[in-house]
Symmetry: C2
Subunit: 302 residues, 2 copies
Amino acid sequence: MKLTILGCYAATPRTLTNPTSQVLEVKNHMFLIDCGEGTQVQLRKHKIKFSRINHIFISHLHGDHFFGLPGLVSTFRLLGREKELNIYGPKGIKEAITMLLKLGDSWTNYPLRFHELSSGESELVYEDDKITVHTIPLDHRIYTNGFLFKEKLGERKLNIEAVRYYEIDKAYYNNIKRGRDIVTEIGEIIPNKALTFDPPKPTSYAFCSDTAYKPEIVPIIKQVDCLYHEATFLESETHLAKKTKHSTAIQAAIIAKEASVNKLILGHYSTRYPSIQLFKEEASQVFDQVELADDGKSFEFI
Amino acid sequence: MKLTILGCYAATPRTLTNPTSQVLEVKNHMFLIDCGEGTQVQLRKHKIKFSRINHIFISHLHGDHFFGLPGLVSTFRLLGREKELNIYGPKGIKEAITMLLKLGDSWTNYPLRFHELSSGESELVYEDDKITVHTIPLDHRIYTNGFLFKEKLGERKLNIEAVRYYEIDKAYYNNIKRGRDIVTEIGEIIPNKALTFDPPKPTSYAFCSDTAYKPEIVPIIKQVDCLYHEATFLESETHLAKKTKHSTAIQAAIIAKEASVNKLILGHYSTRYPSIQLFKEEASQVFDQVELADDGKSFEFI
Protein backbone atom coordinates (compact mmCIF):
# COMPACT_ATOMS: atom_id res chain seq x y z
CA MET A 1 0.00 0.00 0.00
CA LYS A 2 1.11 3.52 -0.74
CA LEU A 3 -0.50 6.49 0.95
CA THR A 4 -0.07 9.99 -0.46
CA ILE A 5 -1.17 12.91 1.71
CA LEU A 6 -2.74 15.64 -0.45
CA GLY A 7 -3.79 17.72 2.52
CA CYS A 8 -3.71 17.18 6.30
CA TYR A 9 -4.39 20.51 8.00
CA ALA A 10 -7.52 21.45 9.91
CA ALA A 11 -10.13 24.05 9.05
CA THR A 12 -9.39 26.25 6.03
CA PRO A 13 -7.19 25.98 2.95
CA ARG A 14 -4.18 28.33 3.13
CA THR A 15 -1.41 29.31 0.78
CA LEU A 16 0.86 26.47 1.85
CA THR A 17 -1.48 24.02 3.59
CA ASN A 18 -4.44 22.04 2.34
CA PRO A 19 -7.51 20.60 4.03
CA THR A 20 -7.95 16.83 4.32
CA SER A 21 -7.50 14.57 1.32
CA GLN A 22 -5.36 11.53 0.65
CA VAL A 23 -4.92 8.80 -1.92
CA LEU A 24 -4.41 5.15 -1.00
CA GLU A 25 -2.89 3.02 -3.74
CA VAL A 26 -3.57 -0.66 -3.17
CA LYS A 27 -3.91 -3.62 -5.54
CA ASN A 28 -4.29 -1.39 -8.60
CA HIS A 29 -6.85 0.82 -6.89
CA MET A 30 -6.47 4.51 -6.24
CA PHE A 31 -8.88 5.20 -3.38
CA LEU A 32 -9.46 8.88 -2.69
CA ILE A 33 -10.20 9.56 0.98
CA ASP A 34 -11.87 12.90 1.74
CA CYS A 35 -11.81 15.78 -0.68
CA GLY A 36 -11.28 19.24 0.82
CA GLU A 37 -11.29 22.36 -1.37
CA GLY A 38 -8.33 22.30 -3.75
CA THR A 39 -8.02 18.51 -3.92
CA GLN A 40 -8.11 18.44 -7.72
CA VAL A 41 -5.16 20.84 -7.88
CA GLN A 42 -3.28 18.67 -5.37
CA LEU A 43 -4.00 15.59 -7.51
CA ARG A 44 -2.50 17.37 -10.53
CA LYS A 45 0.47 18.59 -8.53
CA HIS A 46 1.29 15.05 -7.44
CA LYS A 47 0.67 13.68 -10.94
CA ILE A 48 -2.10 11.32 -9.88
CA LYS A 49 -4.15 10.34 -12.91
CA PHE A 50 -7.77 11.38 -12.48
CA SER A 51 -8.87 8.37 -14.54
CA ARG A 52 -7.49 5.95 -11.92
CA ILE A 53 -9.89 7.23 -9.25
CA ASN A 54 -13.08 5.17 -9.21
CA HIS A 55 -13.96 5.20 -5.51
CA ILE A 56 -14.13 8.23 -3.22
CA PHE A 57 -14.68 7.85 0.53
CA ILE A 58 -15.95 10.88 2.45
CA SER A 59 -15.71 10.80 6.25
CA HIS A 60 -18.15 13.60 7.05
CA LEU A 61 -19.81 16.66 5.62
CA HIS A 62 -17.72 19.46 7.10
CA GLY A 63 -16.40 21.70 4.35
CA ASP A 64 -12.71 20.95 4.93
CA HIS A 65 -13.42 17.29 4.09
CA PHE A 66 -15.68 17.59 1.03
CA PHE A 67 -15.91 21.08 -0.51
CA GLY A 68 -13.51 19.92 -3.24
CA LEU A 69 -15.88 17.16 -4.33
CA PRO A 70 -18.35 19.13 -6.51
CA GLY A 71 -15.44 20.55 -8.52
CA LEU A 72 -13.76 17.17 -8.91
CA VAL A 73 -17.01 15.54 -10.06
CA SER A 74 -17.43 18.38 -12.61
CA THR A 75 -13.85 18.12 -13.81
CA PHE A 76 -14.27 14.38 -14.44
CA ARG A 77 -17.07 15.35 -16.85
CA LEU A 78 -14.94 17.94 -18.64
CA LEU A 79 -12.19 15.36 -19.03
CA GLY A 80 -14.65 13.11 -20.87
CA ARG A 81 -14.83 10.42 -18.21
CA GLU A 82 -17.03 7.44 -19.09
CA LYS A 83 -16.25 5.05 -16.22
CA GLU A 84 -18.52 4.78 -13.22
CA LEU A 85 -17.56 6.83 -10.15
CA ASN A 86 -18.54 5.58 -6.70
CA ILE A 87 -18.90 7.96 -3.77
CA TYR A 88 -19.25 6.64 -0.22
CA GLY A 89 -20.31 9.17 2.39
CA PRO A 90 -22.89 10.27 4.93
CA LYS A 91 -26.55 10.51 4.03
CA GLY A 92 -27.17 13.88 2.39
CA ILE A 93 -24.11 13.79 0.16
CA LYS A 94 -26.11 12.70 -2.88
CA GLU A 95 -28.60 15.52 -2.57
CA ALA A 96 -25.80 18.08 -2.08
CA ILE A 97 -23.77 17.07 -5.11
CA THR A 98 -26.73 16.50 -7.43
CA MET A 99 -28.23 19.85 -6.46
CA LEU A 100 -25.02 21.71 -7.29
CA LEU A 101 -24.76 19.96 -10.64
CA LYS A 102 -28.40 20.63 -11.47
CA LEU A 103 -28.02 24.34 -10.66
CA GLY A 104 -25.30 24.47 -13.31
CA ASP A 105 -27.41 22.35 -15.68
CA SER A 106 -24.35 20.12 -15.95
CA TRP A 107 -25.17 16.55 -15.04
CA THR A 108 -22.33 14.05 -15.47
CA ASN A 109 -22.03 12.02 -18.66
CA TYR A 110 -20.62 9.07 -16.67
CA PRO A 111 -22.46 6.93 -14.11
CA LEU A 112 -22.24 8.50 -10.65
CA ARG A 113 -23.20 6.10 -7.85
CA PHE A 114 -23.71 7.27 -4.31
CA HIS A 115 -23.45 4.87 -1.38
CA GLU A 116 -24.97 6.79 1.49
CA LEU A 117 -24.00 5.79 5.02
CA SER A 118 -26.03 6.20 8.19
CA SER A 119 -25.22 3.23 10.41
CA GLY A 120 -23.65 3.67 13.82
CA GLU A 121 -21.98 0.25 13.51
CA SER A 122 -18.94 -0.70 11.45
CA GLU A 123 -20.14 -2.04 8.09
CA LEU A 124 -18.66 -3.42 4.89
CA VAL A 125 -18.95 -0.74 2.17
CA TYR A 126 -16.70 -2.13 -0.56
CA GLU A 127 -15.41 -5.57 -1.46
CA ASP A 128 -13.72 -7.22 -4.39
CA ASP A 129 -11.56 -10.35 -4.64
CA LYS A 130 -8.54 -8.61 -3.11
CA ILE A 131 -9.79 -5.84 -0.83
CA THR A 132 -12.42 -4.96 1.73
CA VAL A 133 -13.36 -1.53 3.05
CA HIS A 134 -15.26 -1.17 6.32
CA THR A 135 -16.48 1.96 8.07
CA ILE A 136 -15.10 2.94 11.47
CA PRO A 137 -17.83 4.86 13.34
CA LEU A 138 -16.22 7.95 14.89
CA ASP A 139 -17.32 10.52 17.45
CA HIS A 140 -17.43 14.03 15.98
CA ARG A 141 -19.88 16.93 16.01
CA ILE A 142 -21.74 15.46 13.03
CA TYR A 143 -22.12 11.89 11.72
CA THR A 144 -18.60 10.72 10.80
CA ASN A 145 -16.91 7.53 9.69
CA GLY A 146 -13.31 6.49 9.37
CA PHE A 147 -12.46 3.79 6.85
CA LEU A 148 -10.55 0.53 7.24
CA PHE A 149 -8.87 -0.79 4.08
CA LYS A 150 -7.81 -4.45 4.30
CA GLU A 151 -6.17 -6.69 1.78
CA LYS A 152 -7.61 -10.19 1.75
CA LEU A 153 -5.33 -13.09 2.53
CA GLY A 154 -3.97 -14.10 -0.87
CA GLU A 155 -3.35 -17.62 -2.26
CA ARG A 156 -0.47 -19.72 -0.86
CA LYS A 157 2.77 -19.42 -2.83
CA LEU A 158 3.91 -22.45 -4.81
CA ASN A 159 7.22 -24.00 -3.68
CA ILE A 160 8.51 -24.69 -7.19
CA GLU A 161 11.37 -26.91 -6.03
CA ALA A 162 8.99 -29.08 -4.00
CA VAL A 163 6.35 -29.58 -6.70
CA ARG A 164 9.11 -30.51 -9.17
CA TYR A 165 10.62 -32.93 -6.68
CA TYR A 166 7.27 -34.69 -6.32
CA GLU A 167 6.76 -34.44 -10.13
CA ILE A 168 3.29 -32.96 -9.70
CA ASP A 169 1.41 -32.10 -12.90
CA LYS A 170 0.88 -28.38 -13.56
CA ALA A 171 -2.89 -29.00 -13.72
CA TYR A 172 -2.86 -29.29 -9.92
CA TYR A 173 -0.99 -26.03 -9.25
CA ASN A 174 -4.13 -23.89 -8.77
CA ASN A 175 -5.60 -26.33 -6.28
CA ILE A 176 -2.31 -26.41 -4.38
CA LYS A 177 -2.21 -22.61 -4.22
CA ARG A 178 -5.73 -22.72 -2.72
CA GLY A 179 -4.41 -24.97 0.08
CA ARG A 180 -5.28 -28.49 -1.08
CA ASP A 181 -3.14 -31.54 -0.23
CA ILE A 182 -2.09 -33.84 -3.07
CA VAL A 183 -2.63 -37.63 -3.31
CA THR A 184 -0.06 -39.33 -5.54
CA GLU A 185 -0.79 -42.28 -7.87
CA ILE A 186 0.45 -44.70 -5.22
CA GLY A 187 -1.92 -43.18 -2.64
CA GLU A 188 0.69 -41.17 -0.77
CA ILE A 189 -0.63 -37.90 0.73
CA ILE A 190 1.63 -34.88 0.31
CA PRO A 191 0.47 -32.20 2.74
CA ASN A 192 -0.04 -28.73 1.28
CA LYS A 193 2.55 -27.22 3.67
CA ALA A 194 5.25 -29.29 1.98
CA LEU A 195 4.36 -27.77 -1.40
CA THR A 196 3.72 -24.12 -0.56
CA PHE A 197 4.86 -21.10 1.37
CA ASP A 198 2.55 -18.89 3.43
CA PRO A 199 0.93 -16.10 1.37
CA PRO A 200 2.22 -12.59 1.91
CA LYS A 201 0.74 -11.01 5.03
CA PRO A 202 -2.24 -8.84 4.04
CA THR A 203 -1.74 -5.16 4.67
CA SER A 204 -4.28 -2.91 6.34
CA TYR A 205 -4.77 0.84 6.72
CA ALA A 206 -7.17 2.73 8.97
CA PHE A 207 -8.13 6.36 8.38
CA CYS A 208 -9.66 8.05 11.44
CA SER A 209 -10.54 11.73 11.06
CA ASP A 210 -12.27 13.70 12.51
CA THR A 211 -12.94 12.27 15.95
CA ALA A 212 -12.84 12.82 19.67
CA TYR A 213 -10.88 10.24 21.66
CA LYS A 214 -12.94 7.09 21.12
CA PRO A 215 -11.45 3.87 22.58
CA GLU A 216 -14.44 1.91 21.17
CA ILE A 217 -12.70 1.90 17.77
CA VAL A 218 -9.74 -0.12 19.11
CA PRO A 219 -11.20 -3.60 18.34
CA ILE A 220 -11.99 -2.52 14.76
CA ILE A 221 -8.49 -1.25 13.99
CA LYS A 222 -6.60 -3.86 16.04
CA GLN A 223 -3.09 -4.50 14.66
CA VAL A 224 -3.48 -2.55 11.43
CA ASP A 225 -0.21 -1.87 9.65
CA CYS A 226 -0.89 1.83 9.60
CA LEU A 227 -3.29 4.07 11.46
CA TYR A 228 -3.86 7.67 10.39
CA HIS A 229 -5.45 9.34 13.39
CA GLU A 230 -6.31 12.98 13.66
CA ALA A 231 -4.44 15.08 16.22
CA THR A 232 -5.90 18.54 15.94
CA PHE A 233 -4.56 19.76 19.26
CA LEU A 234 -1.67 19.43 21.69
CA GLU A 235 -2.13 18.49 25.36
CA SER A 236 -2.39 22.15 26.41
CA GLU A 237 -5.62 22.44 24.38
CA THR A 238 -7.27 19.25 25.70
CA HIS A 239 -10.29 21.34 26.71
CA LEU A 240 -10.67 22.56 23.11
CA ALA A 241 -10.34 19.01 21.80
CA LYS A 242 -13.15 17.93 24.09
CA LYS A 243 -15.34 20.89 23.20
CA THR A 244 -14.90 20.54 19.42
CA LYS A 245 -14.82 16.71 19.45
CA HIS A 246 -11.28 16.44 18.15
CA SER A 247 -8.27 14.55 19.55
CA THR A 248 -4.92 15.51 21.00
CA ALA A 249 -1.66 13.93 19.83
CA ILE A 250 -1.47 11.94 23.05
CA GLN A 251 -5.02 10.65 22.67
CA ALA A 252 -4.19 9.48 19.14
CA ALA A 253 -1.11 7.72 20.51
CA ILE A 254 -3.14 5.97 23.23
CA ILE A 255 -5.50 4.61 20.56
CA ALA A 256 -2.49 3.43 18.50
CA LYS A 257 -0.95 1.72 21.52
CA GLU A 258 -4.17 0.05 22.65
CA ALA A 259 -4.77 -1.23 19.12
CA SER A 260 -1.14 -2.42 18.82
CA VAL A 261 -0.86 -0.87 15.36
CA ASN A 262 2.41 -1.01 13.51
CA LYS A 263 2.68 2.67 12.68
CA LEU A 264 0.76 5.81 13.64
CA ILE A 265 0.54 8.77 11.28
CA LEU A 266 -0.71 12.01 12.80
CA GLY A 267 -2.56 14.73 10.87
CA HIS A 268 -5.38 17.30 10.85
CA TYR A 269 -3.21 19.74 12.74
CA SER A 270 -4.62 23.03 13.95
CA THR A 271 -2.59 25.82 12.38
CA ARG A 272 -2.22 27.61 15.73
CA TYR A 273 1.07 25.85 16.54
CA PRO A 274 4.49 27.01 15.37
CA SER A 275 5.65 23.52 14.32
CA ILE A 276 4.02 20.16 13.67
CA GLN A 277 7.07 18.49 15.30
CA LEU A 278 5.38 19.26 18.62
CA PHE A 279 2.67 16.71 17.77
CA LYS A 280 5.30 14.00 17.26
CA GLU A 281 7.07 14.88 20.48
CA GLU A 282 3.91 14.55 22.55
CA ALA A 283 2.64 11.37 20.87
CA SER A 284 6.06 9.71 21.17
CA GLN A 285 5.75 9.84 24.97
CA VAL A 286 3.04 7.16 24.62
CA PHE A 287 3.79 5.29 21.40
CA ASP A 288 7.03 4.58 19.56
CA GLN A 289 6.23 4.43 15.88
CA VAL A 290 4.87 7.90 15.23
CA GLU A 291 5.13 9.70 11.90
CA LEU A 292 3.84 13.07 10.82
CA ALA A 293 1.64 13.52 7.79
CA ASP A 294 2.39 16.55 5.66
CA ASP A 295 1.02 17.76 2.34
CA GLY A 296 2.72 15.92 -0.49
CA LYS A 297 4.34 13.29 1.74
CA SER A 298 4.03 9.59 0.85
CA PHE A 299 4.14 6.51 3.06
CA GLU A 300 4.59 2.93 1.93
CA PHE A 301 3.66 0.03 4.13
CA ILE A 302 3.70 -3.71 3.48
CA MET B 1 -10.69 51.78 -9.06
CA LYS B 2 -8.27 48.92 -8.70
CA LEU B 3 -9.02 45.51 -10.13
CA THR B 4 -7.09 42.44 -8.99
CA ILE B 5 -7.48 39.24 -10.97
CA LEU B 6 -7.49 36.21 -8.65
CA GLY B 7 -8.31 33.78 -11.43
CA CYS B 8 -9.20 34.16 -15.11
CA TYR B 9 -9.00 30.75 -16.75
CA ALA B 10 -11.91 28.67 -18.02
CA ALA B 11 -13.17 25.36 -16.74
CA THR B 12 -11.07 23.69 -14.02
CA PRO B 13 -8.53 24.83 -11.44
CA ARG B 14 -5.00 23.73 -12.34
CA THR B 15 -1.62 23.90 -10.67
CA LEU B 16 -0.80 27.32 -12.08
CA THR B 17 -4.17 28.70 -13.19
CA ASN B 18 -7.31 29.51 -11.29
CA PRO B 19 -10.99 29.70 -12.23
CA THR B 20 -12.79 33.04 -12.29
CA SER B 21 -12.58 35.42 -9.37
CA GLN B 22 -11.58 39.05 -9.03
CA VAL B 23 -11.61 41.86 -6.51
CA LEU B 24 -12.66 45.41 -7.36
CA GLU B 25 -11.47 48.06 -4.92
CA VAL B 26 -13.52 51.23 -5.19
CA LYS B 27 -14.39 53.97 -2.69
CA ASN B 28 -13.32 51.85 0.31
CA HIS B 29 -15.23 48.82 -0.93
CA MET B 30 -13.67 45.47 -1.79
CA PHE B 31 -16.21 43.87 -4.10
CA LEU B 32 -15.57 40.20 -4.81
CA ILE B 33 -16.75 39.15 -8.27
CA ASP B 34 -17.24 35.40 -8.81
CA CYS B 35 -15.65 32.82 -6.55
CA GLY B 36 -14.24 29.73 -8.27
CA GLU B 37 -12.67 26.91 -6.25
CA GLY B 38 -9.50 28.12 -4.53
CA THR B 39 -10.56 31.77 -4.27
CA GLN B 40 -9.87 31.95 -0.53
CA VAL B 41 -6.29 30.79 -1.09
CA GLN B 42 -5.88 33.38 -3.86
CA LEU B 43 -7.19 36.07 -1.49
CA ARG B 44 -4.56 35.09 1.08
CA LYS B 45 -1.83 34.94 -1.55
CA HIS B 46 -2.58 38.48 -2.63
CA LYS B 47 -2.91 39.68 0.97
CA ILE B 48 -6.50 40.85 0.60
CA LYS B 49 -8.08 41.13 4.02
CA PHE B 50 -11.10 38.86 4.31
CA SER B 51 -12.74 41.34 6.67
CA ARG B 52 -12.91 43.97 3.92
CA ILE B 53 -15.18 41.84 1.75
CA ASN B 54 -18.83 42.61 2.46
CA HIS B 55 -20.38 42.11 -0.98
CA ILE B 56 -19.92 39.15 -3.31
CA PHE B 57 -21.34 39.16 -6.85
CA ILE B 58 -21.82 35.80 -8.58
CA SER B 59 -22.41 35.81 -12.35
CA HIS B 60 -23.81 32.30 -12.73
CA LEU B 61 -23.92 28.90 -11.10
CA HIS B 62 -21.32 26.98 -13.08
CA GLY B 63 -18.73 25.47 -10.76
CA ASP B 64 -15.77 27.46 -12.06
CA HIS B 65 -17.55 30.65 -10.95
CA PHE B 66 -18.89 29.70 -7.51
CA PHE B 67 -17.51 26.42 -6.08
CA GLY B 68 -15.18 28.46 -3.87
CA LEU B 69 -18.11 30.23 -2.20
CA PRO B 70 -19.19 27.59 0.38
CA GLY B 71 -15.61 27.39 1.66
CA LEU B 72 -15.22 31.15 1.84
CA VAL B 73 -18.52 31.56 3.71
CA SER B 74 -17.36 28.86 6.18
CA THR B 75 -13.94 30.43 6.61
CA PHE B 76 -15.53 33.79 7.46
CA ARG B 77 -17.24 31.98 10.35
CA LEU B 78 -13.99 30.39 11.56
CA LEU B 79 -12.34 33.81 11.47
CA GLY B 80 -15.01 35.09 13.86
CA ARG B 81 -16.71 37.43 11.41
CA GLU B 82 -19.57 39.45 12.83
CA LYS B 83 -20.30 41.86 9.97
CA GLU B 84 -23.10 41.18 7.50
CA LEU B 85 -22.12 39.49 4.24
CA ASN B 86 -24.17 40.17 1.11
CA ILE B 87 -24.25 37.71 -1.77
CA TYR B 88 -25.78 38.68 -5.12
CA GLY B 89 -26.38 35.84 -7.55
CA PRO B 90 -28.87 33.78 -9.54
CA LYS B 91 -31.95 32.30 -7.91
CA GLY B 92 -30.95 29.01 -6.31
CA ILE B 93 -27.72 30.26 -4.77
CA LYS B 94 -29.31 30.69 -1.34
CA GLU B 95 -30.63 27.13 -1.24
CA ALA B 96 -27.27 25.74 -2.39
CA ILE B 97 -25.16 27.52 0.20
CA THR B 98 -27.57 27.08 3.09
CA MET B 99 -27.94 23.38 2.32
CA LEU B 100 -24.17 22.83 2.40
CA LEU B 101 -23.87 24.70 5.70
CA LYS B 102 -26.79 22.78 7.22
CA LEU B 103 -25.26 19.43 6.21
CA GLY B 104 -22.20 20.41 8.23
CA ASP B 105 -24.39 21.71 11.06
CA SER B 106 -22.34 24.88 10.80
CA TRP B 107 -24.56 27.89 10.22
CA THR B 108 -22.78 31.26 10.13
CA ASN B 109 -22.56 33.38 13.26
CA TYR B 110 -22.76 36.55 11.16
CA PRO B 111 -25.73 37.80 9.10
CA LEU B 112 -25.69 36.27 5.63
CA ARG B 113 -27.97 38.07 3.18
CA PHE B 114 -28.75 36.66 -0.23
CA HIS B 115 -29.98 38.88 -3.05
CA GLU B 116 -31.29 36.43 -5.62
CA LEU B 117 -31.50 37.57 -9.22
CA SER B 118 -33.86 36.34 -11.91
CA SER B 119 -34.65 39.33 -14.13
CA GLY B 120 -33.77 39.34 -17.82
CA GLU B 121 -33.40 43.13 -17.71
CA SER B 122 -30.55 45.19 -16.29
CA GLU B 123 -31.42 46.14 -12.72
CA LEU B 124 -29.91 48.08 -9.83
CA VAL B 125 -28.66 45.58 -7.22
CA TYR B 126 -26.55 47.79 -4.97
CA GLU B 127 -26.43 51.50 -4.22
CA ASP B 128 -24.86 53.77 -1.65
CA ASP B 129 -23.97 57.46 -1.71
CA LYS B 130 -20.93 56.88 -3.91
CA ILE B 131 -21.52 53.73 -5.99
CA THR B 132 -24.14 51.87 -7.98
CA VAL B 133 -24.02 48.30 -9.21
CA HIS B 134 -26.31 47.15 -12.03
CA THR B 135 -26.65 43.71 -13.61
CA ILE B 136 -25.76 43.17 -17.27
CA PRO B 137 -27.94 40.32 -18.59
CA LEU B 138 -25.69 37.97 -20.57
CA ASP B 139 -26.31 35.08 -22.94
CA HIS B 140 -24.84 31.82 -21.62
CA ARG B 141 -26.05 28.24 -21.26
CA ILE B 142 -27.66 29.05 -17.90
CA TYR B 143 -28.99 32.28 -16.40
CA THR B 144 -26.02 34.67 -16.18
CA ASN B 145 -25.39 38.32 -15.33
CA GLY B 146 -22.42 40.58 -15.74
CA PHE B 147 -22.09 43.50 -13.33
CA LEU B 148 -21.61 47.23 -13.97
CA PHE B 149 -19.89 49.17 -11.18
CA LYS B 150 -20.30 52.96 -11.46
CA GLU B 151 -19.07 55.73 -9.25
CA LYS B 152 -21.64 58.46 -8.77
CA LEU B 153 -20.79 62.00 -9.89
CA GLY B 154 -19.20 63.60 -6.82
CA GLU B 155 -19.64 67.13 -5.48
CA ARG B 156 -18.10 70.07 -7.36
CA LYS B 157 -14.64 71.08 -6.15
CA LEU B 158 -14.30 74.41 -4.36
CA ASN B 159 -12.10 76.99 -6.12
CA ILE B 160 -10.44 78.26 -2.95
CA GLU B 161 -8.90 81.31 -4.61
CA ALA B 162 -12.28 82.36 -6.03
CA VAL B 163 -14.27 81.99 -2.80
CA ARG B 164 -11.59 83.98 -0.96
CA TYR B 165 -11.61 86.69 -3.61
CA TYR B 166 -15.38 87.09 -3.21
CA GLU B 167 -14.96 86.88 0.59
CA ILE B 168 -17.66 84.21 0.86
CA ASP B 169 -18.37 82.92 4.35
CA LYS B 170 -17.38 79.28 5.01
CA ALA B 171 -20.98 78.51 6.00
CA TYR B 172 -21.87 78.60 2.27
CA TYR B 173 -19.13 76.18 1.14
CA ASN B 174 -21.28 73.04 1.27
CA ASN B 175 -24.02 74.67 -0.78
CA ILE B 176 -21.47 75.84 -3.33
CA LYS B 177 -20.02 72.32 -3.62
CA ARG B 178 -23.55 71.09 -4.34
CA GLY B 179 -23.78 73.53 -7.29
CA ARG B 180 -25.62 76.53 -5.85
CA ASP B 181 -24.97 80.09 -7.04
CA ILE B 182 -24.27 82.77 -4.42
CA VAL B 183 -26.08 86.09 -3.95
CA THR B 184 -23.89 88.69 -2.24
CA GLU B 185 -25.14 91.28 0.26
CA ILE B 186 -25.47 93.88 -2.50
CA GLY B 187 -27.60 91.46 -4.56
CA GLU B 188 -24.91 90.49 -7.02
CA ILE B 189 -25.22 86.86 -8.31
CA ILE B 190 -21.94 84.91 -8.47
CA PRO B 191 -22.55 81.89 -10.69
CA ASN B 192 -21.41 78.53 -9.29
CA LYS B 193 -19.06 77.97 -12.20
CA ALA B 194 -16.98 80.94 -11.08
CA LEU B 195 -16.53 79.37 -7.63
CA THR B 196 -15.96 75.69 -8.42
CA PHE B 197 -14.23 73.19 -10.64
CA ASP B 198 -15.94 70.19 -12.23
CA PRO B 199 -15.95 67.12 -9.98
CA PRO B 200 -13.62 64.28 -10.91
CA LYS B 201 -15.02 62.13 -13.71
CA PRO B 202 -16.73 59.08 -12.19
CA THR B 203 -15.10 55.79 -13.06
CA SER B 204 -16.94 52.71 -14.25
CA TYR B 205 -16.12 49.02 -14.67
CA ALA B 206 -18.10 46.32 -16.44
CA PHE B 207 -17.55 42.60 -15.82
CA CYS B 208 -18.97 40.36 -18.56
CA SER B 209 -18.36 36.63 -18.14
CA ASP B 210 -19.54 34.10 -19.29
CA THR B 211 -21.38 35.07 -22.45
CA ALA B 212 -21.87 34.44 -26.13
CA TYR B 213 -21.42 37.47 -28.38
CA LYS B 214 -24.30 39.70 -27.30
CA PRO B 215 -24.40 43.18 -28.89
CA GLU B 216 -27.53 44.01 -26.84
CA ILE B 217 -25.26 44.77 -23.87
CA VAL B 218 -23.56 47.65 -25.71
CA PRO B 219 -25.97 50.40 -24.52
CA ILE B 220 -25.57 49.26 -20.89
CA ILE B 221 -21.76 49.36 -20.91
CA LYS B 222 -21.40 52.40 -23.21
CA GLN B 223 -18.15 54.30 -22.57
CA VAL B 224 -17.15 52.47 -19.42
CA ASP B 225 -13.56 53.05 -18.38
CA CYS B 226 -12.83 49.38 -18.34
CA LEU B 227 -14.60 46.34 -19.74
CA TYR B 228 -13.60 42.82 -18.70
CA HIS B 229 -15.09 40.59 -21.39
CA GLU B 230 -14.62 36.87 -21.61
CA ALA B 231 -12.70 35.48 -24.59
CA THR B 232 -12.73 31.74 -24.12
CA PHE B 233 -11.76 30.97 -27.72
CA LEU B 234 -9.75 32.22 -30.67
CA GLU B 235 -11.26 32.80 -34.12
CA SER B 236 -10.40 29.25 -35.23
CA GLU B 237 -12.82 27.89 -32.61
CA THR B 238 -15.74 30.22 -33.41
CA HIS B 239 -17.95 27.16 -33.88
CA LEU B 240 -17.12 26.01 -30.32
CA ALA B 241 -17.81 29.50 -28.97
CA LYS B 242 -21.23 29.41 -30.60
CA LYS B 243 -21.98 25.89 -29.39
CA THR B 244 -20.92 26.52 -25.76
CA LYS B 245 -22.21 30.12 -25.64
CA HIS B 246 -18.84 31.69 -25.11
CA SER B 247 -17.06 34.48 -27.03
CA THR B 248 -13.96 34.74 -29.18
CA ALA B 249 -11.32 37.42 -28.62
CA ILE B 250 -12.54 39.23 -31.75
CA GLN B 251 -16.15 39.17 -30.59
CA ALA B 252 -15.07 40.68 -27.26
CA ALA B 253 -13.18 43.38 -29.18
CA ILE B 254 -16.22 44.18 -31.34
CA ILE B 255 -18.31 44.69 -28.19
CA ALA B 256 -15.57 46.96 -26.75
CA LYS B 257 -15.39 48.99 -29.96
CA GLU B 258 -19.16 49.36 -30.34
CA ALA B 259 -19.43 50.46 -26.71
CA SER B 260 -16.48 52.88 -27.11
CA VAL B 261 -14.96 51.69 -23.87
CA ASN B 262 -11.64 53.06 -22.73
CA LYS B 263 -9.93 49.75 -22.11
CA LEU B 264 -10.75 46.10 -22.78
CA ILE B 265 -9.40 43.34 -20.52
CA LEU B 266 -9.69 39.81 -21.89
CA GLY B 267 -10.00 36.69 -19.73
CA HIS B 268 -11.65 33.29 -19.21
CA TYR B 269 -9.20 31.70 -21.61
CA SER B 270 -9.55 28.09 -22.63
CA THR B 271 -6.37 26.28 -21.63
CA ARG B 272 -6.09 24.60 -25.05
CA TYR B 273 -3.90 27.39 -26.45
CA PRO B 274 -0.11 27.59 -26.05
CA SER B 275 -0.09 31.31 -25.13
CA ILE B 276 -2.65 33.87 -24.04
CA GLN B 277 -0.80 36.46 -26.19
CA LEU B 278 -2.75 35.02 -29.12
CA PHE B 279 -5.96 36.45 -27.64
CA LYS B 280 -4.44 39.94 -27.57
CA GLU B 281 -3.18 39.63 -31.12
CA GLU B 282 -6.59 38.72 -32.48
CA ALA B 283 -8.54 41.30 -30.43
CA SER B 284 -6.08 44.06 -31.39
CA GLN B 285 -7.11 43.69 -35.02
CA VAL B 286 -10.47 45.22 -34.04
CA PHE B 287 -9.78 47.37 -30.97
CA ASP B 288 -6.69 49.28 -29.83
CA GLN B 289 -6.73 49.25 -26.04
CA VAL B 290 -6.58 45.56 -25.26
CA GLU B 291 -5.01 44.10 -22.14
CA LEU B 292 -4.75 40.54 -20.93
CA ALA B 293 -5.97 39.44 -17.53
CA ASP B 294 -3.77 36.96 -15.73
CA ASP B 295 -3.89 35.46 -12.25
CA GLY B 296 -2.43 37.92 -9.76
CA LYS B 297 -2.35 40.87 -12.17
CA SER B 298 -3.77 44.23 -11.09
CA PHE B 299 -5.22 47.08 -13.15
CA GLU B 300 -5.86 50.61 -11.99
CA PHE B 301 -8.23 52.90 -13.86
CA ILE B 302 -9.38 56.41 -13.07
